[in-house]
Symmetry: C2
Subunit: 121 residues, 2 copies
């Protein structure tokens, strides 16, 4: 079985568009759990779209649709959803990922946090 | 449960030392399966250590020991092990990760490739 893979350096810096092809933000970084080899969440900025630039948003990878070449990234989300989405200050990123924070992040976008439950299985 | 997490931008560019604290290489990139939110492997260069600069090496994340702050990365490996390790040309990275390639990469460093079997479970 083959699976398309992308370099983290290709993913970060990518523009993200919504389903109307409007540019909504950028992928700033990926937060990695090195012990589990997992991407906990992506870090996005929605500066232009939301009109605020000082916050970063934690977004599940499942919420991002990557093209096979990694050159386009889509996210099916509206402005209202983003306005009350889990975010943090640019200068104060969480350095741990407790289950409560992850559950909030995944739940907000309608996904289940499979991370911690899988690693504890 | 808390787990230390690191930004992919912190991980890439890090120097890697062996158990004798000798600088053996650098982390160039992380290869990500966006659908599974998994790090398939890290891409390392061992230029100075091996005396070759045109190849990159695929290394399981399990083989890298990250300090909690991500500022030091250790790899318990000797030169002989690296000399016949799975590598690829800098300008010709694999864009898919077939199980055979991954099994070779993981097997070489004494790890089991849990990736594909887990996602197919």
């Amino acid at each position: 079985m083959n699976s398309k893979i992308l370099a983290s350096s290709t993913i970060t810096g990518q523009k993200v568009t919504n389903m109307k092809d409007e540019n909504i933000g950028d992928i700033q970084d990926l937060m990695i759990d090195p012990k589990e080899s997992e991407v906990m969440y992506a870090v996005l900025s929605f500066g232009g779209f939301l009109g605020i630039g000082s916050k970063y948003f934690a977004v599940p990878m499942e919420a991002l649709q990557f093209s096979d070449d990694g050159k386009t990234v889509k996210m099916d989300v509206d402005k209202e959803k983003l306005e009350n989405a889990p975010s943090f200050d640019k200068d104060n990123w969480p350095r741990t990922a407790d289950s409560e924070f992850l559950n909030t992040v995944y739940g907000h976008y309608g996904y289940k946090n499979k991370r911690r439950t899988r690693s504890m299985a």
